[in-house]
């Protein structure tokens, strides 16, 4: 590890820790009510969903319209696992039960990702979008009609295991893993497929393998997000995981920038808070969302951050550089 790397690591760890401490302080002194805390937990869940979709759509370049379907598989898989483990007195609660359940849920979603991905990823872009859309709908209808999922009445009796602390750290873990993954040789292989699949194969990338891998990891983390959702709300209604849910996650990704994890994080924060703040205008929310999506695509298709990552260390360095070296001449930035 070089010195620069070590520094930026330290920086990020300190930054994440301070956000966490800040949240804890605000809760302790009563600034953040239970309502606000629940919004924070939703932010964590949405960050996980958006960053994982970003892996499939932004980094791998495969438009997925069924992310809510993977979320549903994870949510139900995790909820049913927790109910089973608790009713058989194997694990009765706490972080252990949560972790085991969401990982099982995530694995179910990941396996579903492979099952869908292996055949579907052979097809060109549009068709993948359609297949994932179809899959999302089928999953929902199936869950609606199964007995052990509670069917259309919904699933109750799910252990409520999520609080802001564990949600925060799980979110931080997921984002970190996605970040290191996308900056490894495997991540480069995934990105090269987005850039030019034929060229990627011509320089020796096993494209099918990395497509399925990227897709399955995205599905796995969507499942983790779904698991957190299940253990936070403690009730699952199959119709929450509809096409609109998939689109909402997509909007977060597109707005933040396809290929930018930090973009997804910030966009998830804003787009989770905004609708809450604009409760009175709820009827206009989706109108604005969808209009925004179209306008974004026309005027700034790369999203707010494009494919670049925002880094605190980098920003500070840039500011200092500009001041010391040349106050007027801006560092040429790649767009």
């Amino acid at each position: 590890m070089t010195k620069v790397n070590f520094k930026s690591y330290l920086f990020n760890i300190v930054a994440i820790l301070s956000v966490f401490v800040l949240i804890q302080i605000l809760i302790a002194n009563g600034t953040l009510s239970r309502y606000y805390v629940s919004i924070l937990i939703f932010i964590c869940i949405n960050i996980i969903l958006a960053t994982s979709l970003n892996l499939a759509t932004g980094f791998l370049g495969q438009l997925t319209l069924g992310h809510a379907g993977f979320m549903a598989v994870g949510a139900y898989g995790s909820a049913l696992t927790a109910i089973y483990l608790r009713s058989n007195d194997i694990l009765t609660g706490g972080i252990g039960l949560l972790l085991v359940s969401i990982i099982v849920g995530g694995l179910f979603a990941g396996i579903m990702g492979i099952v869908i991905g292996v055949p579907a990823l052979r097809l060109r872009g549009d068709y993948l979008a359609i297949i994932t859309l179809g899959f999302g709908e089928v999953i929902r209808v199936v869950i609606n009609n199964l007995a052990f999922t509670g069917g259309a009445k919904g699933l109750t009796g799910i252990p409520r295991l999520v609080n802001i602390s564990n949600a925060f750290w799980i979110m931080a873990f997921v984002v970190t893993v996605l970040y290191t993954l996308t900056n490894s040789r495997q991540g480069r292989a995934i990105i090269s497929i987005r850039e030019d699949e034929i060229a990627a194969e011509a320089v020796g990338i096993q494209t099918t393998r990395y497509k399925v891998m990227g897709f399955a990891i995205a599905a796995f983390f969507a499942g983790i997000g779904g698991g957190l959702y299940a253990h936070f709300i403690a009730f699952l209604d199959p119709n929450t995981f509809n096409f609109m849910r998939s689109v909402e996650i997509l909007v977060i990704v597109v707005l933040g920038g396809m290929g930018s994890l930090t973009g997804s994080v910030m966009s998830a924060v804003v787009l989770t808070i905004l609708p809450e703040a604009l409760r009175d205008f709820a009827i206009y929310r989706l109108l604005i969302y969808s209009g925004l999506l179209v306008v974004m695509m026309i005027f700034r298709p790369q999203g707010i951050f494009g494919t670049t990552e925002f880094s605190l260390a980098g920003a500070i360095k840039k500011l200092r550089y500009n001041q010391i070296v040349s106050p007027r001449k801006k560092v040429k930035e790649d767009d």
Partner: protein, 292 residues
């Protein structure tokens, strides 16, 4: 047997609605390689246009239909010009996301304007059932089937025999070459959207008359199913969309009648997935390889 025949005719009627809607998807895809997710919403808007015209004027069915189709055509051209044209050279993924955005935009616009509650569509087609032996066939069913078939024949004639129709086929084959041949590509694409949207409105009017309702999200499911139909038949291929529409209509009606009405949607989408996996280009599609 009588029951089966009755269901068969229902399937034909539902299928012909899907077929006319599917034509819009297929024509647009054929010409600009874009899945126009907003097409279901154009269909919904078409139904509302008809609804408003009936309430405002009480004019006969055919006038209402023409007004609705013309307005939908204008809407289609507007959507294309504002949202899709600027992205014609953009990556496909951007165009696709825009189409999804446009679909939601129109849907929510309708929610804001017309409110979510369903409205009752007045019976603008007289309800006089026709009896053939033991079979009872509604006028709406007959009008639906006949009108759909008439418009499909007209479309076929238009695409094959008229100048703009030929231009349309040329543009879908090769945009650059069409420009060199003196074809106005933008206008041809606008015409395609106009016709596709008008057919969508036809589907919307027939659908709302059959189910006697109009509501802002009414375009979603028929839109998706018509889209499935277009893919099933081979997207970009006009006869494919018709075939696909009838197949989906039949499958759906017969599933509802004989298997389970809850599962019919899952079966339709399952069918789509199976077809895409085994013959991604659809029933009538031809294989197409990316040029290296």
């Amino acid at each position: 047997m009588v029951l089966f025949l009755q269901q068969f005719i229902n399937g034909l009627s539902v299928g012909s609605i899907y077929a006319v809607i599917a034509l819009g998807y297929t024509m647009v895809y054929g010409i600009i390689r874009l899945i126009n997710f907003a097409h279901g919403e154009i269909m919904m808007m078409g139904a509302y246009f008809a609804f408003i015209t009936v309430l405002a004027s009480g004019m006969p069915f055919y006038v209402v239909l023409i007004v609705s189709m013309v307005l939908a055509a204008i809407l289609g051209i507007t959507v294309e010009t504002l949202a899709y044209r600027p992205l014609r050279k953009a990556p496909r993924i951007s165009a696709l996301i825009t189409a999804i955005g446009m679909s939601l935009f129109l849907q929510n616009l309708a929610l804001v304007i017309f409110k979510p509650e369903p409205k009752i569509m007045p019976p603008i087609i007289p309800r006089m059932p026709v009896f053939i032996g033991p079979l009872r066939i509604g006028t709406v069913t007959i009008v639906t089937i006949v009108l759909s078939i008439v418009f499909m024949v007209l479309l076929d004639f238009f695409v094959k025999k008229t100048k703009p129709g030929k231009a349309m086929r040329a543009v879908s084959e090769d945009k650059e070459a069409s420009v060199l041949m003196g074809i106005n590509v933008n206008r041809t694409i606008s015409i395609t959207f106009a016709i596709g949207s008008a057919l969508g409105a036809l589907g919307g009017v027939l659908y709302s008359v059959s189910y006697t309702q109009v509501f802002p999200t009414m375009g979603v499911m028929p839109g998706l199913k018509a889209f499935v139909a277009a893919v099933l038949g081979g997207i970009g291929i006009i006869p494919g969309a018709m075939l696909g529409g009838f197949v989906i209509g039949m499958v759906e009606t017969l599933t509802k009648a004989y298997i389970s009405s809850q599962l019919s949607d899952a079966i339709v989408f399952g069918l789509l997935i199976v077809v895409l996996l085994f013959k991604p280009t659809g029933i009538l599609g031809k294989n197409e390889k990316e040029k290296v």
